[in-house]
Assembly symmetry: none
Homo-oligomer: 415 residues x 2
């Protein structure tokens, strides 16, 4: 079975709302080995809906439609479906009864508009909606199965999982297993990774490689299909280990699947029983915010100081006034003094500090906007890296936090 998803609504074609329904359905189908060949979005327009439904009928075995089942005048999906699939629009008594019961339960009065929602194409089977008014329905036409679901994401999701997935699985008892894993990369370009892995990509015929950019990170997705789950799992694990060796991508891979860089750094700190304190200038708290997104981060994060002013740098971190004066707040010397200062004052294993010019103002020819110094202090050692970023203020903040966390990660895996 191949599937087309059709999402309906003026709010989608006008760009007012993000279409999260298609993504959700595609993802759900992908995990049970069913391929979505096309996603089509049209506005609340009978002709365009009819056209989309008829086109889909010629190409796929299953069509999943969302949106346009509500009570208002612009909800015309049921009518358009009847026209496209050459059925009559009739009052469905089961749908009406379900609706009446729902209104009774919540002690609300049913409006004539709601009755409209019970008019469905003839021979439709109802898909119950446990958390909303609009029923869904499905029907077959020349070997193609059409499912119609409301557009409200939480109702659609629940109905899709509880009713649509079981019907699709029944229609296709022999489902293929699709297993995939995502390796997360930071610090190298997509074309570099592609080239380094080119012999593997060519030789591993059973596995599909896909690079998905999530700037500034890249996700490398490995996907495998088949019947033998155990074989697939083993194969993917072996391949993952191979890619992580120095010959291929090595420590450019920082994590797997849903893992974030900050979670990886947190796990490394915890596994070493280490603590950290941070002094942030240009990132304005972002590094700490990211690290504290991980539950239990209070185990290793002792404190963090956002020292935006020179006064705060002097008072809180004991950065000498002479260094600030001689080298300026954005300098290697100040970054080092901040990292050492925050570590010794907080008595933590590590100290991390950043200072830079996030812009848009404040740049000079010598130190343009985007100049950042990242300093990392451990025992008597201080490592400082100068970076030059481009982009807007928020990108610059994010890139700085990303590099700072990655410097920490690389130190921790080698330490």
């Amino acid at each position: 079975v191949t599937v087309e998803i059709i999402t309906i609504g003026d709010e989608l074609t006008s760009g007012s709302s993000q279409d999260t329904n298609a993504t959700f359905i595609a993802q759900q189908l992908h995990t049970i080995g069913i391929e979505v060949v096309k996603i089509t979005t049209v506005g609340d327009d009978t002709e365009k809906i009819v056209d989309a439904l008829r086109n889909a009928q010629q190409k796929v075995g299953c069509v999943i439609v969302t949106g346009g089942l509500g009570p208002t005048v612009d909800d015309i999906t049921a009518k358009a479906a009847a026209e496209a699939l050459r059925r009559k629009l009739v009052l469905n008594k089961i749908a009406l009864k379900a609706m009446e019961e729902r209104f009774k339960k919540y002690d609300r009065k049913m409006s004539p508009n709601n009755v409209k929602q019970a008019y469905l194409p003839s021979d439709s089977t109802i898909i119950p909606n446990p958390i909303g008014t609009a029923c869904g329905f499905y029907l077959a036409r020349s070997n193609t199965l059409f499912f119609f679901l409301p557009g409200v994401p939480r109702e659609m999701k629940r109905m899709f999982e509880e009713s649509v997935i079981p019907i699709i699985k029944r229609e296709q008892p022999e489902t293929t297993i699709v297993s995939s894993c995502v390796l997360k990369i930071f610090g190298e370009s997509e074309s570099y990774c592609d080239q380094v892995l080119s012999d593997l990509i060519k030789s591993e015929k059973e596995v599909a490689f896909a690079f998905l950019p999530h700037y500034p990170e890249i996700s490398l997705k490995l996907t495998m299909r088949g019947k033998d789950g155990k074989y697939i799992e083993k194969k993917l694990k072996t391949l993952e280990r191979k890619i992580k060796t120095k010959k291929y991508l090595g420590d450019v891979i920082f994590g797997k699947d849903e893992e974030t860089l900050e979670e990886v750094v947190g796990k490394l700190l915890r596994s070493k029983g280490a603590t950290i304190s941070i002094a942030e200038s240009c990132t304005g708290g972002l590094i700490t915010h990211r690290l504290t997104n991980a539950p239990g981060s209070s185990d290793y994060l002792e404190r963090s100081l956002v020292v935006y002013s020179d006064k705060a740098k002097k008072e809180l971190l004991k950065v000498p006034a002479s260094i600030l004066k001689r080298h300026g707040a954005v300098s290697k010397e100040v970054a080092e003094s901040m990292a050492k200062g925050v570590k010794s004052l907080s008595k933590t294993t590590f100290g991390l500090a950043v200072t830079g010019i996030a812009g848009p103002a404040g740049g000079t020819s010598e130190k343009p906007v985007g100049t950042v110094f990242i300093s990392f202090s451990h025992k008597r050692q201080v490592i400082t890296q100068k970076c030059s970023f481009y982009g807007d203020r928020e990108q610059m903040k994010f890139m700085t936090s990303q590099y700072a966390l990655d410097i920490l990660r690389k130190y921790l895996i080698k330490d």
Copy 2:
């Protein structure tokens, strides 16, 4: 001119990535009065891309395609475009030169894979990419104009705004003006706002009202179409003023259009010549991160302390050990002491402090996960609010930062 958007990528049809490109393009076209009649998404498959391009050619005057222009093997859009539009795939010297210059500028080596990116359908015109490697291109076929852009959102957006919009506008000199403004709401529900505004929504026939939830905020979008730009502007301004009066939504509206809550707070602080210092516990730097996203925030943000440990609260903010012991770190008393402490130590006009349990661990029956105290200190006054949030850790952090910034905003507009 009517438009179809075609987005290409296996990551879209498999549900791995949300398609934000189509939404962005639809939104941009909507504001200049151009209708998107369809959005089509297909995977990285030559046959399906060709099919989608040929279908679109029959229906619309303009097709905007994103994705599949990268250097890797699964990037096949240029090849499929050549096939669909019956052109040869030829090395475009302008595209190659632009790429070579880019690599030279960043002192990186160009790989043979990158050269592939310069092979485009014959008679294509280049769309420059100022921030990435992949050029875009456009060409006409039987009265339909086809634009091809990379799938990386920030590159696509920039190229669309700088190059595609001007070309489309030139093709269609007599456009209807569609003007809209967005009023941003925090602190009331959509149904409350709908009810309060019901008489306005009914009486203002020329203006379309739409509520777009952006949890925890709501955007109220007012849209008006017509030929007379001045009349539309005036009408929308008058309506905006009306909605902002106490009779309607009042100060529940915190901002307009792209304005963020943190920008609004920043502007208010600057206009009063006030400074602020912040002590964050459960938000882990998020409040400060948000405030420092606004350029020039160093004018009012003096410093911020992320005091995750009790030790840091005592050492940095002089929170008395007795208060911590008696009331616990998450308490009204500690929040007040933190707000007063950070203000007096930093010598700022205002002090803001939050302490709470972001979870998932750390809750008790008396103080469950989601219990948060927000304290705000000015002169001798301290205002403290207790909140109870639900959701996951990141939602809790965000809601706390949102309430804290909104408390600050409401104080500043009344002060």
